[in-house]
């Protein structure tokens, strides 16, 4: 055991090169490594590529700051609100190149990489523009007849991002990582990526992970770096820690409709704060405490009317 994998947020972000092909944990308004993304913007990371499923908050931040060059992905949408304005503007202006997949297809590309095989056969996407209308990908998928039965399938090639950034509940210094709740695409992303950086709500003592091994999403030997960032998913939520900050998300979405307003958001909450602690101070302790999960429910009481 050593502390070699434990990095500061600044060090972990500094290890990501410009132009990296990245994949981020989380789904919609949940489990998203937002503190990492804010630090990426502060450090000026640029020309980035995303291999994505539904990391809307990451894509919209990177796009709005002009740092996203291209994205292969299946869906960027703020649930209950609508399309991602910053991302959409970037595509509409020709500044961001896109390649669209279904959720299952893009995830299958990650699975193939994690399995160490060059491709996987899948059923969806056939017959649609997801197959027929191409973006930047040299080869996206290939129709194929099953050699045993002749059944038509599509072959999708393995996708290997350079870096996966995952926000989880807790990890120990070896990088053994646990998450409460649904696990999104974490396992597939981590096994596909060349490097895996995990940010967590808390780094726990040696042995804690082994007490409940059923909660482990990533064994430490798959993890390259561990960063402790409490509330590191804010404004998205972490099950059993805190809810998504819906009021913040609503304000963000309003700002994202307008470039000048979004610039002010970035100045206020990203460039105007030096580190995650200053960010949390700006959000305010009263607000953060109100988002805290009730231990019995896993979510905050303010958002649970009748669940108790």
């Amino acid at each position: 055991m050593s502390d070699a994998k434990i990095l500061s947020l600044r060090e972990a972000v500094a290890s990501v090169p410009d132009g990296a092909n990245m994949t981020f944990g989380g789904f919609a308004a949940y489990f998203t490594p937002m503190a990492f993304v804010r630090e990426m913007l502060r450090q000026g990371k640029r020309d980035l590529e995303m291999t994505s499923v539904a990391e809307c908050w990451v894509a919209d931040h990177l796009a709005g700051a002009g740092r996203l060059r291209r994205a292969r992905f299946s869906n960027f949408m703020f649930e209950g609100m609508g399309r991602c304005y910053n991302f959409s503007r970037g595509v509409e202006r020709g500044e961001i190149a896109v390649e669209d997949y279904s959720h299952f297809a893009i995830t299958s590309r990650l699975v193939a990489a994690g399995l160490g095989i060059p491709f996987l056969p899948i059923k969806p996407m056939a017959g649609t523009d997801l197959m027929q209308t191409r973006g930047f990908e040299a080869e996206k998928a290939r129709p194929f007849a099953c050699p045993f039965t002749g059944e038509p399938v599509l072959l999708v090639p393995a996708a290997r991002p350079d870096v996966a950034v995952i926000h989880a509940a807790r990890a120990d210094r070896d990088g053994n990582t646990q998450l409460f709740g649904n696990t999104c695409v974490i396992d597939e992303q981590a096994r596909a990526a060349a490097r895996v950086i995990v940010t967590v709500e808390e780094i726990v003592a040696d042995g804690v992970i082994r007490q409940q091994p059923e909660l482990t999403v990533l064994p430490g030997f798959l993890v390259d770096a561990v960063v402790e960032v409490p509330f590191g998913a804010h404004p998205t939520g972490m099950y059993r820690y805190y809810d998504p900050d819906f009021a913040f998300l609503t304000d963000y979405y309003a700002a994202s409709r307008d470039e000048a307003a979004f610039r002010r958001y970035l100045d206020d909450y990203v460039f105007g704060v030096p580190d995650p602690w200053a960010y949390l101070q700006k959000i305010g302790i009263r607000r953060l405490m109100a988002l805290r999960a009730d231990p019995g429910l896993g979510l905050a009481r303010i958002h649970a009317r009748t669940l108790a």
Binding site: F76, E92, D100, S102, G127, A304
Partner: protein
């Protein structure tokens, strides 16, 4: 009881499509309202699966999204997206619900882009699980507002397959399931005529005429032998919708 809203009629029509014991792949909004209503009334054993990796959620409060912690709390299995979508490809999902910006007469949907792909006029969210559901679920129910710019002769980008280019289209592409079996709008309930696979008007909601439906559709509709009226929600259904499923009227509309 105040007058029922069109959204309530839509929710009840959609709920009716879920049979007891079926596994349903559910999104946010009206499909979730319909699924909860089904669970609270005629289909208590229906299993609700969400692409976020939440399996057999217990319907208590309406969720704001498919990954909402209110769905997670008390569900049977919390897993990943790949597992949830594998259930579709594995043939375990009986029915799926979806919407889109555009639908054509064969039930193909666009949720990707308007006005070109690489440099569109309006970039939309993209397929997400929609193409997976449309390609693989046993039956598909489409729900959308009935507008001429949405029900179009040809979708600008075919994100999610209905019957593709018509009879035999799904089979040629190797897709699974029956394809779309219902289209539920704020004006009418439609299906697809079995031989031509073209959209067909089944019933109009109270106060709506077939002519009005056609006028707000961008392609010629086939007509059922006898176009009836969509059943109005029962008193019990309305009570459950307003009292338990959506007491704030977020999706079923405000009552006056």
């Amino acid at each position: 009881m105040s007058e029922v809203t069109r959204q309530e009629i839509m929710a009840v029509a959609a709920a009716r499509e879920i049979q007891d014991g079926e596994a349903a792949f559910i999104g946010t909004g009206l499909p979730m309202v319909a699924a909860y209503l089904a669970k609270f009334t005629h289909a208590p054993s229906a299993v609700l699966v969400f692409e976020s990796g939440i399996v057999d959620a217990r319907p208590r409060e309406l969720a704001t999204g498919v990954g909402d912690f209110r769905l997670l709390h008390g569900c049977v299995k919390a897993t990943g997206l790949y597992y949830a979508l594998s259930l579709l490809q594995g043939g375990f999902i009986d029915i799926g619900f979806m919407g889109g910006a555009e639908v054509d007469e064969y039930g193909n949907l666009n949720s990707t882009a308007i006005g070109g792909y690489a440099r569109p006029t309006v970039r939309l969210p993209g397929s997400g699980g929609a193409n997976d559901i449309g390609s693989l679920a046993g039956r598909i129910v489409i729900m959308m507002p009935h507008e001429q710019r949405r029900l179009v002769p040809r979708v600008q980008y075919l994100t999610t397959p209905g019957f593709l280019d018509g009879p035999g289209g799904r089979e040629r592409a190797g897709l699974r399931g029956e394809g779309p079996t219902r289209v539920i709008t704020d004006l009418a309930v439609l299906d697809f005529e079995p031989r031509s696979k073209r959209m067909r008007l089944l019933t109009v909601h109270p106060g709506v005429t077939p002519e009005e439906v056609q006028a707000r559709t961008g392609f010629p509709l086939l007509l059922a032998e006898r176009v009836g009226e969509t059943p109005i929600p029962s008193a019990e259904q309305v009570a459950v919708l307003r009292g338990r499923v959506d007491p704030e009227g977020i999706y079923i509309g405000k009552k006056g």
